[in-house]
Symmetry: D3
Subunit: 260 residues, 6 copies
C-alpha cells in the first residue's frame, strides 16, 4: 500500500500488528560529473517500490524523503541538504507521528550513506523516549547493508558501493540511462597505508573518520564509475530488491528477543 | 528543468540571472473521510509540473516536499508532520543551499495552508541574515493566493478553498479520481456571529485565531466537498495553472523596486 | 483594570469567564528622521489605554511590551530588537502564564507590523500545545487590521498605514507633538510593475516578500509623512479607538463557533 | 535623556564616549496579599527616573522592562514570567543592539532579585563573545547592592530587603499608597539552624540554595511588611536614589583597570 | 563512599535520607606560567577526598568533573572548556540522574570560580522544575566561600584567593610541588579607583562585571603567586578541609526551614 | 605526557605536528549486580594509561571523561548520564578547544559503546565546520574495534565484548578485583531468529535497532560474566593495550590519503 494514497479512515481501520511503514530516505546532492543530483533518491525509490509491490499487504510505503543530510557535499553546488542535527529532529518527528497513529514497525530505508548515523541517533533517542510504551520496532538500514553479500556479483570490478561509483552508475544506467553521461564518469580512489583505516572501502575501517567530500575527490565521484554498465545495474537491482523484500517480510513478524 | 535531474556541472554552468527555483511545499495529512492523505502534495505537484512544462527554460523544479507543518491535524491519525519551528529551519536550510549555489530567485510554492506562516518567517529571517549579499528574491505564495480571483469560476458553490472542500475534492476528482470516495464526502461549516472573525472563510478575518482542527470539524473536512465534480476540478486546475505560470514568468524578471 | 496594579488575591478572586487580558505589543525602533524610537509603543499604548478606559470591567491591561521583533531595522542605529524566534518564545511564555492563572481570552494587540507573523506563530503553537484544555481564545491583531475601513477617513492622502508615514506621523503629532520634527519628515515610496506584488501598499500583495528596511527607504520612513497633521491624528485615534473597543467588547463574549 | 524619545539621527550624532545606557529590569509577579504585581517595576522605574533626572546629560534611560525571570513565583497566580534561559537571551540581544549602535557603557539596573543571576550570565557571555572589540562595559546591579549600606537607616526593623517586605512595602506606600492594602500585609520569616545558610537574610549565605517561593512563604510575602510606613519609604528612596546616581556618575568615566 | 565504586544493587539498597552526593566541579584551564592546567581539579579533588575520608558513611563522592566553564580563558591555549549554557545543561542532567536514583541531598562542590554562576542557574532551574516532588536539597559552594574566614590565616600576604595566586600556588606546592615552576610565578593585580567595583578582590564588588581573562593579566596569573610556600598550602588545605567537612556534616541533616 | 599536568607555556611551545591528544571517554552506569558503576571508565583509563606510558612523547593524555551517553541505562538507578544530543555538543566543544590550541590529531578513545554514535556525529560535524582549515584528524574508536581480532583469545567462551559480560568482568577482576562480586555475576543472552539482526552479538547486525537496556536484561548484565577470570582479564588487557598503542603510533604520522 502507498501510505499517502490511503484516506484517514483506512488508516484507522488497518490491523497494524504486522504492518511495516517504510520511509525511504534519499538525498539530492552532487553525484560527480556524470550522475544526476537525485541519484540516491531515484535508486532508493525504485527499490522501495519493488518492496511495496512484492509485499503490498504488509507494507505502507511513504513517499521518498529526498532531503537528506549531505552537508559534506555542500562545496559542490547543486547539493540541497540540512544539517545532521536538524535531520535527526525531522526523522524523529516523522516516526513519532507514525507511532501515534498506532503502527508498531517502522523501517527507515536508506539509499544515502550520510543519513545513516543520524538515523541511528533517531532510533536511540526514540527508544529511550518511548521506553514505557508497548513494544515497537524502529529499524534503519541502507540497502548496501541488507544486501551486502548479495551485491557481490562476479561482474563487479570494485569491492563495495560508495558514491557515484561503479555500483550507483550501473543502477542509474539501468533505471534512467538518459540522465547519465558516461563520457564524464571519472572517479577517484583514496589510498593510504594503514592497518586500521581503509578509505578505499576495501574493508570496514576500525576507526571512525570523516573527511569533507571535496578532500576525497576532485570530480565528486569515487571508485570506477567508468566501468558501469546497465547489465550490472539490472543484476544489482534484482539482487538488492530480493534481499530487502526478504528483510521486510521477516521484520513484519519480529517479536522482542527472548532472554536466555 | 527538473532540478534533480541535472548533473552538478550543469548546475554550475547555468546562467542563473533569471532562473526561478521552484520548491513545491505540500503535506501528508488527513483530508476528511473521502480524500487521500497526500491530497495537498498531489495538487501542488500537478500545478508545479504545469509551470515547469510551460516555462522549462526559466524554471528549475525541485521535487515536492511532502512533509509539511500539519500539527493541528495530528489528532486525526495518518497525519505526518513536523512542528512549525522545525519546518521553518528545514525550509530555511533548503533556501540557503539554493542561494549558495548562486541562484537569485526562489519560489516557495504552497499547496498547504499550514506552511504559510512558517514560510513567511523563513523569508523574514533569510532577508535579514543575508541582507548584505547581492540582491536576491525569496517569495512564498499559496496557489489560492496567486490565483484567487481566477478561482472564482461560476460553477463553484462555496466562496473559497479551505480543507478537503469543494475545491480540493474537485481537483482530486480531476487528477486521481480513483483515490476519492465521494460517498464519504461530508464537510462542516463553522458559523459565528462576528464583525471581525469569519471562520466560514466568507472573507478574510481581521484578527488571527488558530483552532486545532478537531475543534473545527468532526469529519476532518470543511465546506461542501459533496458538491465536487471532476469538471470543476479541470477548470480550476486550468485557471490556477495559468495564473501561477503568469506569476513565475513575471518573477523571473523582477528587479528591486525603485524608491520614489 | 490595569493587570499590574492588582494584588495577587484580586487576580485569584476575579470571575474570569469574560475577562480579556490585553497585551499591547510595540517596538523601539528607528522611525525615520522625524519620529522618536518609541513611536509604535506610544501609539499602541494610547489606544490600549482608551480600550481599558472604555471597558474597565472587562479588560485587564498589561503594560506595553516595548521590545519587539524589529531586526529588519537593525541597520539603522537606535533600534532595540530581539530575533523573531526569540520573540515567539517570549510571547508564548507570557500567554502561558496568563492561561495558567485561569484566564480564557487573550488579545495580543499589535502596534508594530513586525510582531504580526511571530504572533501568528505563537497562536498556532499554543493552540496545538493546549488543545486538550478547556476552550480558550488567543487572538492577535494590529490596530490597522481591526480598524482598516474606519481608518479610511477622507483627509488621508495615502491609502494605508506603513512605517513613519502620514498615519503614524499624524497620530504622533496628536499625541506627543514635541517629539516630532516635521521639518525632517521625508518618506520614500517603493514602485514596481507587478500584478502580484505591491510594495507601495496600494493593495495586499498576493505573494510574501521581505526586504530589509535599508533597501526600502534611505530615510527610514515610508510614504508621505510630510503631509501629516495633528488633526488627522486625532481623527485617526478616535476612529481606531472606537473600533478596537468594539472588537474587545465582542471578543469578551465569543464562544466556539458552531459546526454547520 | 529618554532613549525612546530620541529620533534616530539624534542617536547617530551623540558623542557616546561617556554615555550610560540604563536598562531598568523589573518584574510583574505576585507580591503577597498587600502589594500590586508591578511592585518591582514601579520601584525600579522611580529610581531610574531619579537617575535620569539627576544625570540627564550622561544617561540614556530605556523604558522599564517589566517582564522578568520570576518562574519561582508561578505557583501564585498573576505572575507573568519567562524562564531564566530565555531571559538571558532576551537581555543579551538588547545589549547587542545597544553595542551595535556604538554605545560603550550599559547598566542593567535591577529592581527584582530573580533577574540577578541571569544578568550575570549575560555579562559573562557577552564579555567573551565580543572580547576582540574595543573595550566596553556592561554592569548589572540591584539597587539593594549599590545602596546596601545607605539602606541601613535606623528606622528599619529588619536587616535587609527581600520580597514584599518592610522595605518594598514602605517604598510602595511612599510611591503609590493607593495600591497597597496594609491590612493584608503579613510576611513570613524562614528560620533554620545553620552556620552556612541564612534563609532569614540576616547575612549572606555561604552556599547557594534555591527554594520555590511557595515553600518559603504561604502569604507570598517575606519579613515584616506590617511594619512599613510611607516615611521609611521616602527615606529609602532618597538614600537609594542618591547612591545609584553616585554609581552612574562614576561609571560614565570608568576606564579599564590598570595591571599592577 | 565512592559513588562509582558501588554496584547498582548497593545504590538501590542505601538508606538515602541523610546521604550527601558530592560532585566536585573543577576545570582544565591555563593557570599562568607556573601552574599546571589541572590545578583547580587537583585542589578540589584533594579537598573532596578529605571530605569522603572524614564522612565515609554520609558521603557518596562522584569523580571529579574536570571539564568546566572556562571560556573566558580560551585566549590562552591549553584551556579545555564548554560554554556556560552547555555547562548548565550538563550539570542539570547529572543532578536529575542523582535525584531519579532517590537521593535527596546534592552538593555541587566548586574549586573553579567560573562554575559558580552556572551552578546557581542549575539550582534555580531544578528547584522550579521539580517543585512538586518531595523536598530535596541541591547546594553549590566554592571552597573559598565555605571556608572564607578559615582561610584568613596570618601567613597570607594577599586578602583572597583568585586565580593562579598566592593561595592556589601554595596549595599546589603542598600537593604536587613537582608540577609547579615557582621561577615563573608572576601575577598581575588590577587597580582601579571606584567605590563600587574592586577588581583587586580586596572586598566584594557591588556591581557585576566580567572581563575576559586576557584583559586582566598578561601572564595568566593574578595576585602574588611568587609569595607561595608549601607550608601555607598545607595550612590552607587543613583549614579548608575541616570547614567543608563541617558543612557536609551539617548538610546531611538539613530540614526545610520553618516559617516564622 | 599528561595534558593536564602541563603548564600553559609548555602547551604553547610543543611541536604539535605529530602529537596525538587522547581523550578517554567512559561512563558511570549500572553494570549488572556484580560490577561497579565506573567499570567502563576504569577499563578505559587503564588502557589509555598504557598508551601514554608506551608513547609518552607522542601522546597528550586528557583525564577520563567519565560522564557518558547512557540514557538507555537510566531505568537502573546509579546511572549518571547526559542525553546524546548534549553529549555530542560537549565532545564537540572539547575538540574545538584542542584544535584552537593548534593540535592536529585527536583520538576520542571509547570504552563505552553508547558514546560511539554520538562521537561519529561529532566527527562529521566538525569535519564540515572546519573544512577550510588546514588538515587535521579527529578519530573515534572503541578499544573493542581497534583490537577486535586481538581480543579473540582462545580462553574466551563468548564471541564478543558487550556489557558487564565475560570480557568486562575479566578485565575488572584483573584491575580492581575487590570491586567485583562474582557471586552475583549473572548475565542474559538475547535470542532471536533472524538473518539480519543478531542481538546475541554473534556477528554484526545488518540493521540498526535500539532497545532500552531494561528490555534486554533483567540483571543489567549481558552474556556470561560468571565465566570471567582475572587471568583472562590480564591477557585481554595486554592484547588490547598493544593494539591501541599500535594504532596511536600509526595515527601520529597519518597524512591525508592520496587520490588515485
Amino acid at each position: 500500500m502507498k501510505f499517502g494514497e490511503l484516506k484517514r479512515p483506512e488508516i484507522e481501520r488497518l490491523d497494524k500488528t504486522h504492518k511495516v511503514v517504510v520511509l525511504p530516505l534519499g538525498s539530492l546532492e552532487q553525484h560527480g560529473r556524470h550522475l544526476p543530483l537525485l541519484t540516491d533518491s531515484l535508486i532508493g525509490g525504485e527499490i522501495a517500490q519493488r518492496v511495496e509491490t512484492a509485499l503490498a499487504n504488509d507494507v505502507l510505503l511513504l513517499p521518498m524523503q529526498w532531503l537528506g543530510s549531505s552537508d559534506h557535499h555542500l562545496k559542490f553546488p547543486g547539493t540541497i541538504s540540512i544539517p545532521s542535527n536538524l535531520y535527526i529532529d525531522m526523522i524523529a518527528h516523522i516516526c513519532e507521528c507514525i507511532l501515534a497513529a498506532g503502527f508498531k514497525r517502522i523501517l527507515l530505508f536508506l539509499s544515502h550513506g550520510g543519513n545513516d548515523v543520524p538515523c541511528q541517533e533517531v532510533i536511540f533517542r526514540l527508544g529511550i523516549k518511548h521506553r514505557d510504551k508497548s513494544p515497537f520496532w524502529i529499524a534503519s538500514a541502507g540497502y548496501w547493508s541488507l544486501a551486502d553479500e548479495a551485491m557481490k556479483i562476479p561482474e563487479m570490478a570494485t569491492p563495495r558501493s560508495t558514491h557515484a561509483c561503479e555500483y550507483e552508475t550501473s543502477i542509474m544506467l539501468a533505471l534512467r540511462g538518459e540522465l547519465v553521461d558516461l563520457t564524464q564518469a571519472q572517479g577517484k580512489t583514496l589510498c593510504m597505508e594503514s592497518k586500521f583505516y581503509f578509505p578505499d572501502f576495501s574493508r570496514p575501517s576500525k576507526v571512525n573518520i570523516s573527511l569533507p567530500f571535496e578532500s576525497m575527490t576532485s570530480t565528486g565521484a569515487i571508485g570506477r564509475p567508468d566501468l558501469a554498465t546497465p547489465e550490472k545495474g539490472h543484476k544489482l537491482l534484482d539482487a538488492i530488491g530480493a534481499k530487502v523484500v526478504e528483510f521486510v517480510r521477516e521484520f513484519a513478524y519480529w517479536e522482542r528477543p527472548t532472554m536466555g
